[in-house]
């Protein structure tokens, strides 16, 4: 079984986001970038499945500018066998990314595609579901547990009401929740070894698809700031303030 895992390079989750003064976006220059956190869970799960002898090959793919390749290199360091970097510049919408991955799926013929359930930059939560639609494959979104069976996966999904379990036939798409597993760190020897693993570079223009953005970002602003509050001295004062000042209890 072959697993394709999609990874995205985003501003690191610990970075305090700053909006550009000209309202054209957020500051990304000299800002720490990392792999989108739930994409790390997606890689980890694929590696665990391979370690359990249920997968034979893991291919990590990213779509984006030159530096996006760092995320593929990291995936190789934690256990992916081969990388693919589809090179593009400019704005990429989830619909465009899913069309790009669809092309790669047709070429690589994986049995499963894993990715994070949402990217922490645009917070869209779309790409996996869109890819499933384009391929007409089953989708198990927001996965917190995956059981690999013969030709199916049993996936536990986190939903607003609690948990849902579905069984999906392979080939299939799974989008991963942060609770799926605990991503490992790459060891230094494995980082060195990963440098020798192959990364295939593909120019998006060679895929023959239209990735022109459909949604214009007119402006990006800071959200309204909350006014600073006060510290209360003790519990009695807190309850008195809630009752008589805020009038919420």
């Amino acid at each position: 079984m072959k697993i394709l895992v999609a990874v995205k390079r985003v501003i690191d989750y610990n970075v305090q986001i700053r909006v550009k003064e000209d309202s054209s976006g957020v500051v990304t220059d000299n800002v720490k970038m990392s792999t989108n956190p739930p994409d790390d869970n997606a890689i980890e799960e694929a590696v665990k499945i391979k370690e359990a002898g249920k997968a034979t090959e893991i291919v990590a793919i990213t779509v984006g500018e030159e530096k996006a390749q760092e995320t593929v290199r990291k995936a190789l360091a934690v256990g992916a066998d081969k990388g693919i970097h589809v090179k593009t510049g400019g704005v990429l919408e989830p619909l465009a990314v899913s069309k790009i991955i669809q092309k790669i799926v047709e070429k690589e013929k994986p049995d499963l595609v894993f990715m994070g359930k949402q990217a922490i930059d645009d917070d869209c939560n779309q790409t996996g579901q869109m890819l499933s639609a384009l391929l007409n494959w089953p989708q198990a979104t927001f996965a917190s547990k995956i059981k690999v069976k013969d030709n199916t996966l049993e996936v536990t999904r986190e939903i607003d009401e609690g948990l849902e379990t579905v069984e999906i036939n392979i080939p299939a798409i799974v989008t991963c929740d942060l609770r799926l597993n605990e991503p490992r760190y790459a060891s230094l020897p494995n980082i060195m070894k990963a440098k020798k693993k192959p990364i295939e570079e593909i120019n998006v223009s060679d895929l023959g698809i239209d990735i022109t953005p459909r949604v214009q970002q007119l402006k990006v602003e800071e959200p309204p700031k909350r006014k600073a509050g006060i510290k209360v001295a003790n519990v009695a004062e807190l309850v008195q303030k809630l009752k008589n000042e805020a009038k919420v209890i």
Partner: protein, 317 residues
């Protein structure tokens, strides 16, 4: 052209956020039609027809719609889409799972999780866990939009008399099989719509200690929330998680207990009207958004908090 609202329901009743999504839909265009897809869902369809903002209901029923599988729902919605300019539903796990599948079939770039309708093609949406707001304009002819339910008031739920039309069911998608749903039942208010939310974080130290939170929540008639750290540690189930990848809540009162206030958590609660933070670390980032901060050991503060609440003659519920 009219707007198509996708109703969320449990085959008996509408899920509450359908009312918020209906409000958002009506802000895009006054002509709102609603589709309800399910099995034996007549009573929910009836309730949908009673929403005054809904002008027409399309009810589609088949056994394979019983469990709301996106792979089954999407083709049925796509078939209806030609008559509509917009397709709208909530950006909760139901809508997040379903809408992109619809959008991709329609070759439309979806606009996710909007918090404001600026015009029929322009919307405001948070990005980067709510640390920036983007104004976006979609140029697609068909617009697929998911709305953040807590940013729109629920619509009136009675007085409407929309007609209910039967829609045609699509084929079953046989590669996905629903196995089970484990819903956590509770007599407490729903987290997404509660007036008061009491949340615990890593500082609670154990699942057992969450009973201190439960007591306060019971006293206040509040829902119980949690940070991701508390859910990851197994103190409480995932349906309680508030934050960027959990639920977004906007209660009148949010009480954060033993929660440090990572930006991912703040993304889910910082629009609350009044925020209280109880934490022993005076430098915790939660205090930067709190209206009332109490720097204290929660294991001392919570019993005192109960005591003080018990002294009050009345508590708003």
């Amino acid at each position: 052209m009219a707007v198509l609202l996708i109703a969320e329901h449990n085959n008996k009743e509408l899920r509450p956020f359908t009312l918020n999504a209906a409000t958002a839909a009506s802000q895009i265009d006054a002509e709102v039609h609603a589709v309800i897809i399910g099995q034996n869902s007549e009573s929910a369809a009836k309730k949908l027809s009673e929403l005054p903002v809904v002008k027409k209901v399309i009810s589609i029923e088949a056994p394979h719609y019983e469990n709301f599988t996106a792979e089954n729902f999407a083709p049925a919605i796509v078939k209806l889409a030609e008559n509509y300019s917009h397709i709208v539903c909530s950006a909760n796990t139901f809508g997040k799972n379903l809408m992109p599948r619809v959008a991709a079939h329609l070759d439309t770039s979806q606009v996710s999780d909007i918090i404001k309708v600026i015009s029929p093609d322009t919307f405001l949406r948070p990005i980067y866990a709510g640390n920036a707001f983007a104004t976006v304009k979609t140029n697609d002819a068909k617009k697929c939009v998911t709305i953040r339910p807590t940013s729109f008031e629920p619509c009136e739920s009675s007085g409407g008399t929309a007609t209910i039309e039967k829609g045609e069911a699509g084929e079953e998608f046989t590669n996905t099989k629903f196995i089970k749903r484990e819903e956590i039942k509770s007599d407490r208010p729903e987290l997404g719509t509660a007036r008061i939310v009491v949340s615990g974080g890593r500082g609670m130290q154990s699942g057992d200690n969450f009973k201190l939170i439960t007591e306060v929540a019971d006293k206040l008639g509040a829902a119980i929330g949690a940070s991701r750290a508390a859910v990851d540690a197994g103190y409480i189930s995932n349906d309680h998680q508030v934050g960027q990848t959990g639920k977004v809540v906007v209660p009148d009162l949010y009480i954060a207990i033993g929660i440090s206030g990572a930006i991912q958590h703040l993304a889910g609660m910082k629009e609350s009207k009044v925020i209280v933070a109880i934490n022993k670390d005076g430098e915790a980032p939660i205090f930067s958004v709190a209206d009332y901060g109490l720097e204290a050991d929660l294991f001392e503060a919570l019993p005192q908090f109960m005591e003080e609440l018990n002294k009050l003659n009345t508590i708003q519920k």
